[in-house]
Structures are given as C-alpha cells and as structure tokens.
C-alpha cells in the first residue's frame, strides 16, 4: 500500500463517523451522508498521490464530503424541496450541541431497531465498514445485508427515531443497550475469520464512546474488558489452530501495552456494573505473572459480586472454579452443587466438577465426569478435548500434578467465540449466555 493510500485509510477511519454524523444532522439524509463520505474518500485516493497528503487529512475529507453534499443538493434543489438542507450545509459549521458521533451511535443502537440491525448499522455507519464486509461478518449475502440496512434506515426515517443521544434518566436506560451492541460485536470477533476483525472494530468504537462519555464508568470498563480479552489474541491458539487455555498460554505473547492501558482505565473508578466487574476479573488474570500466582481469592470475590448482580450458569461455573483454586476443591464442588438446576446438563459445569474432583484426588470420578461432559458437549472439538481429558485422567496424568492437571480442563474450551475462563470452560459472550464473558 502506498504512503498516500495508508494516509487515506487512516484519515477515513478517524473522520468517517464524524463526516457521516455531521451530514446526517444537517440534512437528515442517511444515504446522502454515507454516499458523500464515500465519495470524499475516493477522491482523496485519486488526489493525494498527485497533490500530496494535506496537512489536515480529516478536515480535507470533511470539506470534500460537504462540497459533494452541496453539489448533490443543489441539483435536487431545482425541484425546490432541498433548499433548507442546502442553506444549512452552506452556512459556517454550526456549533453542535453534544457530539454528532454520539447521536449517531445512540441512533444506530435505538431499541426500536431489531438487535441484529443495530450491530450491522453501527458497523456500517459509525465504523464505516463496507456493506460487503458487514455481510461477511454476519454470514449473509451482500444483498440481504443491504436490505437489512435499508430497512433499518427506513424505520428510523418513518418512525422518526430521534437523532440524538439521550440525557438524564433516558441515558441510563439506553446506555446498556449501546454497550451490549459493542460487546456483542466484540464477541462476534471470535467468530470472524475474514479480513474484517470485528473485535478491532468493537475496540475502536468503545474507544470512541469512552472519549465521548468520559464520565461513564461502565463505558471505560467495557473498553478495558475488550482490551484485556483482546490482549491475549496472539497466545490464544497454537500453531495447529487449537485453543490454548489460559494456564498454558505464553504470557510473553500477550499485548502488555493493551493490558497497561486497560488497568489504567480501571484505576480509581467506581465499580458500578457488570462490565467493570468482568474487567477487573480479566485484569486479575492479565496482571498475574503466571497462572500459579493468580490472585484467586480476589477473583473469587469479584465472582461473588458478579453472581449477585448478573447470575447465569457461566458465572456460576466460573465462580465455583475460582473458589476451588482459592479455598480448595471442596469449596468449588459445594458451590457447583448449590447452583443445582441452573447448571445441570451444562457441559462446562460437568467439566468443572470433573476438574475439581481430579484436584481433590479422585481421578476415577473425574474421568467419568469428563466422559459425561463430553456426551453433552456443544461442539465436536469440545467433545474431543473432553474425551482426551478423560483418557489423561485415567492414565494418571492428573494424579501426578493435581493442580496443573485441574487447570488443563481448559482444553474443553473450544469454539471461536469462547473466552478463556478460570477453568477454560466455555464462558461465552452475550450471544450464548447473557452479558458475561470472563477471563
């Protein structure tokens, strides 16, 4: 890629949402806004190699997009209907109340839109991801995605979904939905194998939101959580593409700059919700020099809090495993037994019981439980890993190093959207199990 092309890519990434958001505010026309932003980028690709990269690339793109919009509206204005928009665009930049990009994010994430449309529209309009890439991410055809986006935009226009970020109590109601969209996008990144890294896009958007709403602790907590989980991406899979669990990851390959940034985001901020708790859990792992030095009693405490405000089978299992490391296998087994029906028939719960039994020195029970977990595992990879664990446990591998073997149950975690946890067992993102993804 040439220097100029790279400059265009960088500038459009920074400026796209601002351009689209501003043009939507001025004209109310979503398609016009997107077309003009796209035209400005294309014209930069033609002109920058010839004229040089301008001193203010983002400003150049904004001016080009506005001029383009003025041209288009001037043509339409001969019919007389677009004169108001034209006047708005021509006057000097009016001082926006609040930030246009914030309005754009909240409008794209409005709860009156279908959930899958919210994610797609946010990617397309706020992140500027081409429709074809959004379609690939959602495993639908480009024409189907075009229809979905068109439907969402027409719902916004017809129902008159307001173009604004809410304030006061309405903000408290709407913000969790926006955060859920970003986190859903992030967990989707575990599935994506294409050119578009949804996790990177989610982090980009979370960073934007954290910049725009610096006073909201859950926003910076979400950014921290995403950074921490993503910091392990280089260590998460081995050369063969198999999942490597937390206890066996090469920690020198973690992204320590991202971890430091995330820890900084969490420092001194109140813990007001589930994202903050999950971020602290992830930070606890990320800052441990090795698996054995993990501060399990602090982790167990965070899981106690998470279980209170956000109970789910995934949280129950991870909490039991954390307690098992902090206070001994019996403590973990007690918690699992206490969780009862909530985790019955849930493969990671059975696998966690197997792991705790192995650590408690009962390989026979452990092997049987690993087999039972394999029988109800959600995926073939997970089933294979659990059968392998059963065989290893029977062969006495577990007995020779109970603590380490216990951790290896992490082999059970598979499936690209699963985030490693204490046991490595199947903690998933919000799509599968609620809003928690831990580790």
């Amino acid at each position: 890629m040439s220097t100029e092309a790279r400059a265009v890519a960088a500038a459009s990434r920074d400026a796209y949402a601002r351009i689209v958001a501003t043009l939507i505010r001025l004209t109310g026309d979503w398609s016009l806004a997107e077309d003009c932003a796209q035209d400005a980028i294309e014209s930069a690709l033609r002109r920058w190699p010839r004229d040089g990269v301008p001193a203010n690339p983002g400003g150049w793109l904004m001016t080009a997009a506005r001029n383009r919009a003025v041209d288009q509206l001037r043509r339409a204005a001969t019919a007389g209907r677009k004169l108001r928009d034209l006047a708005l665009l021509r006057e000097a930049e009016p001082a926006p109340e609040g930030d246009d990009r914030l309005r754009l994010i909240f409008t794209c994430c409005h709860p009156a839109l279908a959930p899958e449309s919210r994610v797609a529209l946010t990617l397309r309009t706020v992140a500027g991801v081409p429709t074809a890439d959004v379609a690939r991410l959602f495993l639908v055809s480009e024409s189907a995605m075009t229809r979905r986006l068109t439907r969402a935009k027409s719902k916004i226009a017809q129902s008159r979904i307001p173009y604004r970020a809410p304030s006061g109590p309405a903000l408290a109601e709407r913000l969790p939905g926006v955060l859920a969209v970003l986190y859903l996008l992030f967990t989707h990144g575990y599935d994506a194998g294409g050119e578009l890294d949804a996790a990177d896009e989610a982090i980009h958007l979370a960073r934007l939101l954290a910049e725009l709403m610096p006073a909201e602790p859950e926003v910076s907590a979400l950014l921290a959580l995403c950074l921490l989980q993503h910091s392990r991406r280089a260590a998460r899979r081995d050369a063969a593409g198999e999942l490597v669990t937390l206890d066996r990851q090469d920690r020198s390959r973690w992204d320590h700059a991202a971890i430091a940034e995330a820890v900084g985001l969490l420092a001194g901020r109140p813990v007001t919700g589930a994202y903050a708790i999950q971020a602290h859990i992830a930070a606890c792992h990320a800052t441990a020099p090795d698996f054995a030095s993990t501060d399990w009693s602090t982790l167990a405490g965070w899981y106690d809090q998470l279980a209170r405000i956000h109970p789910s089978p995934v949280v129950a299992v991870n909490r039991a495993v954390a307690h098992g490391y902090a206070y001994g296998p019996a403590a973990g087994l007690d918690l699992l037994a206490g969780a009862g029906d909530a985790v019955a028939g849930y493969a990671p719960a059975v696998a966690a019981r197997a792991q705790l039994a192995a650590r408690a020195g009962d390989p026979v029970t452990a092997a049987a439980l690993f087999r039972r977990a394999a029988g109800i595992a959600a995926s073939e990879g997970e089933r294979r890993a659990l059968m392998r664990r059963a065989a290893e446990t029977e062969a006495g591998v577990a007995a020779s190093g109970a603590r380490r073997a216990g951790a290896q149950i992490g082999g059970a975690a598979s499936g690209p959207d699963r985030v490693e946890t204490e046991a490595g067992v199947a903690a998933s993102g919000p799509r599968r199990a609620g809003a928690e993804a831990v580790g």
Binding site: H110, A112, Q158, S159, R160, I161, P162
Partner: protein, 107 residues
C-alpha cells in the same frame, strides 16, 4: 408526526398491579395536545370484516383473524418523535397489562 397507537390485550388480560391510571393518562395527554383522538372499542365479536374480491363484497362476522390477542382500543398521538411516543405509551396502563403497538402515519 402522528402515531396510531393500537391498544392490544389477550382475551384474558393480565393484571398489572402498579399500572398507571387510565383517566390520568387521557387527561394528561389531552391537556398536552398529544392525544388527537382515541377510544375504547367494542368486543371483537361485534366486528365486521370487509373484503372485496373480484368486485364482490364479502362481509365476515368478527375480526379479520382468530387471534388470541385483540385490539381493544386506539389512540392517535401527535408527538415530536418516536421517543416521545414511547414515553406516552409506557404511561398507558395497557402497556403494563397487555401491549401497545405504535405505528407512524405515512403522511
């Protein structure tokens, strides 16, 4: 912006203990000029469905479909945007005890 608000319920409405008061809802929104028109409707059994097929008028006794949920009333709202309409609808007791559908006018 006008919204048609369909007030729907199961044939056996849920009871909602803390639902807002309907009289207050009507009075408040009438006073604010947000409620253009509205009424409770007679039982679905009193409905007549009108269809014309091949030029021929077909009348059916009863609502257009056998559904468990029926429209029991409507209100026409005048609101600035969907968020305002949602606020009006959430204060209507039937969004607590049944459900309320907001449909914008095309105009």
């Amino acid at each position: 912006m006008k919204y048609m608000m369909f007030v729907c319920t199961d044939s056996e409405p849920e009871t909602a203990l803390q639902a807002p008061d309907i009289e207050e809802w009507v009075a408040g929104n009438d006073a604010a000029g947000r409620r253009v028109l509205g009424s409770q409707l007679a039982e679905p059994s009193a409905a007549t469905t009108v269809r014309v097929r091949g030029g021929e008028l077909l009348l059916t006794d009863g609502p257009f479909a056998e559904t468990k949920e029926v429209i029991v009333g409507f209100d026409i709202l005048e609101c600035a945007d969907l968020d305002e309409a949602i606020e009006v609808a959430r204060a209507h007791p039937m969004s607590w005890a049944g459900r309320v559908e907001l449909r914008p006018f095309v105009d």
